[in-house]
Amino acid sequence: MTLLSDRTALSGRRDPASPRPGPRLRARRWAGLLFVLPALVPYTVFVLRPLVVSAQYSLYDWNGIGAARFVGVDNYRRVLTSSEQLTPILHAFELILFFTVIPVCLGLVTAALLHGLPNGPLATTARVVLFIPQVIPLVAAALAWSWVYSSDGVLNQFLRTIGLGSWSRAWLGDFTWAFTAVGLVGSWVSLGLCTLLLITGINKIDPTLYDAARIDGAGPVQEFMAVTLPGLRREIGVCVTVTVIAALASFDIVYVTTQGGPGTQTLVPGLQIFQLAFTQREVGLASATAIVLMVLVLLVVTPLQRISRGAE
């Protein structure tokens, strides 16, 4: 970092009359570039290039193989005006409740509780159990959950055992419940990540603050509100950012569990883009939807970043 920050004085804002950087500085600049290259090349090939190409495709009517026809912003007009294209976007925002709100709230509580536990096998086990969903591939997790939710699945067996057999149903095929069922899989996945990040954050909080709070006679709740919560501002910011992106760009869980059904109850933009591009072969419309989704994610995430950093 020093290599680069040394040079801020020589940045583009420098006095035009000042001499050009000497040969040593220039060599250092190239040396710096050399270090960046291994990361930059894949980033360009696999992130920037697809991004630019998608933006280009989004202006064409193209099936992915044959001749493309330039249509300008027509695809965007279709994305933004047809209700069929907007419903999935709405679903993505509703998913934030399950992917972000629930896991962050539960994660805070869990982290605070775990923090109170003495370090030992119990705390370790609890952490491992909570973090496991992060390690399992999403597809495998979603498959397992679709068994849990199936008509003979564990959830329904449990309901029948406790005498609530009338509540049992094929959750993922139920118009009323499918969305909640899918969303809760997301909560399950995100909870581990949030808890782990938040525990790490709590451990970084100066213990004397807790001592001071206790001396002032604060109970566990007051301690949580006055010390833990403000101390975790940045970790919460990270949790919210990561999980909001996961919610808005969700694909795997929905693809495996419901494919957007029943009806279009659980259709999300990620799945829709996939279907448009690979089933319907409307590469242009799919790219336009993807670009719109990207802009939405940025619009949501950028202010979040500001808020979480605001305190500093």
Partner: protein, 458 residues
């Protein structure tokens, strides 16, 4: 993590970083200079049409690359037998999930190492893009054009992208029909001795089963499998040629008709009466099969590709009949389609693959393999005898049904095959709504036609 706490990072935006970023963006942009796509992709596609083609057995060592579906052993078994009879031919097989093949087919066929034969369910778009070899020359030379026209014509595509006429772009390996499998033990319980001869009789059987506490129909609908019973009804109510025109994308084809409304309303009423399972909208194809095999329902609407599997798991306890006509003595109409395999235009062994396809249709051992592995009809010349199967088995019944249909009925392709998006975007969600009372028959018909026209206009 630097993305999230990069206030140190801000200091680094000196000229070199900007340079690097703009260079990267520039590299990325160069990719976007020209319009995507390739209008000359189909240049070689029509080469086989006019010329005389070779129909002799392959000479010298040839390697054929097949791209087929996972979990479907038929092409593998056929390839084994073919290699036995023609040891100079080596067949390499690549397998993928059906959905994966469908989604990747255009790109795989357009690539420089295109396979020689590919399992592909919908051929229109690929034919229009010039990705498929025109097989007319071989059709004339081998006499494929004299096979049952109802089935062969499904694989013709005109240059306007309308199926039913134009050059031949694919052949079937196994010719499927669909109908209704029934559990004989459960049928006996409700006094069903013969298959129903009208839709009304079928309905009364459904009602009897429901009353007797037997699940009337097990049908997957997680991805829209209720389209089997829906089209089974539609075929009886609507003029089959109108359905065929619609599936083939003929201009002006319209299925927003009273017959569609009637069929959809019937499906809705079956849903309301509990003839489908309560978890139908979450039931997968695999679960449907295992449930039916275990006696979990009286009827299952499905195709003869499962005949051998059902014969193995249920023995003589399973029977098959074609969907009955609306009124007694009416003409049989059934959903029927080949399992289509096409030769990519870029294949370097078109003549050898064509020879293989002809062998599949005419060689007695190959035909027997098709019947033994799937239970579907092997197609081929109409005067060629069908391989022998055990009397009274469900395979014998489906083969008999195929024969009946060829002689006195009408075969109609799957409505789900009409356009690339119609099944996933319209039929699936609409049927899920229909059987749970969230859509009416009229609403279904209207949406079906509207989405169809929208997709074709694009």
């Amino acid at each position: 993590m630097s993305r999230f706490n990069s206030h140190e990072g801000r200091q680094t935006s000196g000229p070199s970083r900007r340079w690097v970023l703009s260079a990267a963006a520039g590299m990325a942009l160069t990719a976007a200079c020209s319009a995507p796509g390739n209008s000359s992709v189909g240049a070689g596609a029509k080469s086989a049409a006019g010329k005389a083609v070779s129909t002799t057995a392959p000479k010298g060592s040839v390697t054929l690359n097949l791209y087929v579906e996972t979990g479907f052993p038929l092409p593998v078994k056929l390839a084994e037998e073919f290699q036995k009879q023609y040891p100079n031919v080596k067949v390499k097989i690549r397998q993928d999930q059906f959905a994966v093949i469908t989604q990747n087919a255009p790109r795989v066929m357009a690539s420089s190492d295109a396979p020689d034969l590919i399992r592909i369910p919908t051929i229109v778009a690929s034919a229009k893009d010039g990705l498929l070899a025109d097989l007319d020359g071989y059709a004339r030379a081998y006499g494929w054009d004299k096979y049952s026209t109802g089935l062969i014509d499904q694989m013709r595509v005109s240059d306007k992208g309308v199926r039913g006429s134009g050059p031949l772009y694919a052949l079937g390996i196994g010719y499927n029909i669909t109908g209704i499998f029934y559990n004989k033990t459960l049928a006996a319980k409700i006094g069903m001795t013969n298959p129903p001869s009208t839709v009304a009789e079928l309905e009364s059987l459904l009602a009897k089963a429901k009353k007797a506490g037997i699940q009337p129909i097990v049908q997957f609908n997680d991805i829209g499998g209720v389209n089997f019973p829906f089209q089974a009804l539609l075929n009886q109510y609507e003029d089959p040629s109108k359905i065929a025109n619609w599936v083939f994308d003929r201009p002006g084809a319209d299925l927003d008709t009273p017959a569609t409304v009637k069929a959809a309303d019937k499906i809705a009423s079956w849903g309301a009466k509990g003839y489908f399972t309560s978890d139908a909208n979450a039931l997968t194809y695999t679960d449907m099969m295992s449930r039916f095999e275990k006696g979990g329902g009286l009827f299952m609407f499905n195709g003869d590709w499962e005949s051998q599997n059902l014969a193995k798991s249920m023995g003589k306890n399973v029977g098959f009949f074609l969907a009955p006509p609306a009124s007694a003595g009416g003409r049989l109409v059934a959903m029927s389609a080949p399992a289509t395999y096409a030769i990519p235009a870029k294949s370097k062994n078109i003549a050898t693959v064509a020879f293989f396809l002809n062998w599949v249709h005419t060689n007695s051992k190959a035909r027997k393999i098709i019947v033994d592995v799937t239970g579907s009809s092997p197609g081929g010349p109409t005067d060629l005898a069908l391989p022998a199967v055990a009397d009274g088995s469900v395979v014998a019944q489906t083969l008999q049904a195929t024969n009946d249909l060829a002689q006195k009925g009408v075969a109609v392709d799957f409505t789900a095959n009409a356009t690339a998006g119609i099944y996933a975007n319209t039929i699936k969600p609409e049927l899920q709504k229909l059987i749970t009372g969230r859509e009416t028959g009229a609403g279904f018909a209207k949406k079906l036609q509207a989405d169809y026209e929208k997709e074709l206009s694009q």
